[in-house]
Symmetry: C2
């Protein structure tokens, strides 16, 4: 079969007219080229060159393959340039910050999937708790925030991930365990157990308790399992995304109740600088998160 290497040889022959010169240009010996073109002639059983005393002249068939060479070599060079560009897109760094502590639950398997698809992208989790995770991007310490809708003043590009319901978490024998849903007043003078974040970042407080001027105590814990222990031992109530509770509810360690009749819903978004969010691997990370979460987490809605 004809190969690109032959086409390159043809081009070189046409440009130099002589086998020996052409051979140099394609880093072969004159003999190699002679063998090579002869092999093509034999393959197609057609004369491609007229051998003269001054070098080679293309026959019409040779000219035809030369035309093919022009097309193919041009297309190949173009593809190779594109490949170089794609190589840049294929590698990079993505330092992820989570606004939402519970998200660790699903992020680990998602990161595994991502790493398999994008082995050249270095994926890191920025450790620790930050009062304003989006600011880490401005400071150059992170690239990709998973959390609520960032305020417009951050000038970050964001993509919605999904909606999820926040359930109140009560010990199974709590006095309110028969109510179909809780209302803000049910939290009056209760202890609220939360992750250690500012009050305004807790949806329940911001959306319901603060507007209704409900008074409550706060106690914090860093890990979901610690919060569960505190709730189960009746030290207070919590409000967590439904998916984070499932395991505990199934084992009747705690119970979950909707908050307000229509439930308390929150949204998760991915945010980052526009140029980062445009990277194909960032776009793909968003896709992977949405796909994996909608499959594995109960009770969420893609947005």
């Amino acid at each position: 079969m004809i190969e690109i290497r032959h086409l390159k040889s043809f081009k070189a022959i046409s440009e130099s007219g002589k086998l020996a010169l052409a051979a140099e240009r394609v880093h072969l010996t004159q003999s190699a080229l002679s063998h090579q073109i002869r092999a093509v002639e034999e393959y197609y059983d057609i004369t491609l060159f007229q051998r003269t005393a001054h070098g080679l002249r293309f026959t019409p068939a040779g000219e035809r393959l030369l035309k093919l060479a022009d097309i193919v070599l041009e297309a190949t060079a173009h593809a190779e340039r594109d490949l170089e560009r794609l190589k840049l897109d294929q590698s990079g760094e993505l330092r992820i910050v989570l606004e939402c502590h519970t998200c660790f639950d699903w992020l680990t398997p998602v990161m595994d999937l991502f790493r398999r698809a994008w082995p050249e992208v270095e994926l890191d989790l920025v450790a620790g708790f930050h009062s304003d995770p989006w600011n880490l991007i401005k400071e150059g310490k992170a690239d990709f925030v998973i959390g609520g809708l960032p305020s417009a003043s951050k000038h970050l590009q964001h993509t919605p991930l999904f909606k999820f319901e926040i359930l109140a978490v009560l010990p199974p024998d709590h006095p309110l365990h028969n109510k179909p849903y809780l209302v803000p007043e049910d939290f009056n003078h209760q202890t609220l157990i939360t992750y250690p974040v500012p009050e305004e970042r807790i949806d329940l407080v911001r959306e319901l308790l603060a507007p209704a001027h409900i008074k409550f105590e706060r106690r914090t814990a860093e890990l979901t399992v610690a919060i569960m222990q505190l709730v189960a031992s009746r030290r207070g109530l919590a409000a967590l995304p439904s998916w984070g509770l499932q395991n505990y509810i199934e084992h009747e360690y705690v119970i979950g109740k909707p908050i307000t009749k229509k439930g308390l819903w929150s949204e998760l978004h991915a945010a980052g600088k526009a140029e980062v969010m445009a990277k194909p691997y960032a776009v793909d990370l968003v896709r992977i998160i949405r796909e994996a979460c909608s499959e594995k987490l109960d009770g969420i809605k893609l947005i």
Copy 2:
């Protein structure tokens, strides 16, 4: 370097999604394909496929090469079809007839040149003398006539070759040897030595002697060298194309004189059926005749 064979493999992979299936389609083992695509990935240092449990998925870079494959394979297939067509044009048969006996002088080297350029074309000379050579084409016994302008009634396509001068041939000591040129009356009651063809095909007779009602004897000989011998031994005069005489004149065996003040000129044409004359090798034969003759024959003019 990437080669067409790789592009074919990519195409097969994209169409079957699985290495093992694709391997069959390109007549390789699954392992060979695995090695092959890996080599391309390493050459460009970029991941082309995402390996999943169900087969291979193209990465954007892989997709790009797939697009290249479409272009290249399409162009290659097209070129190969054209090559098949050209192969038909490249081979054929050309049975040549000469109206003009002297033309043998230059035809042999021309045929050598032609055979080198068109090895697939079978070149034959139709032997014998024919009163109407163009008719041989109609009868399917010849393809290509070299001679004067064929009459329009033959419905043949013709291409002009060149003009040449017909010189009178005299023995060196002939009484007329001092005249700068001969006139028709000089042939009165002389013996004219010619090839064995009808009178109306002899330019001198048709153009000059018959119109002037000159009386002359005729004697024929088949070979140019025989005519020369007869002239040299004073058995008569001849009239031949200048190029045919050169050797004899140089050796002072005979002398050549223009006929009439402006000379007697004749033309040579190639004629054949339109479809034969259109064949690339027929076109090229015309070119070779014109080039070779204008270089080697003195005193002719291309037309």
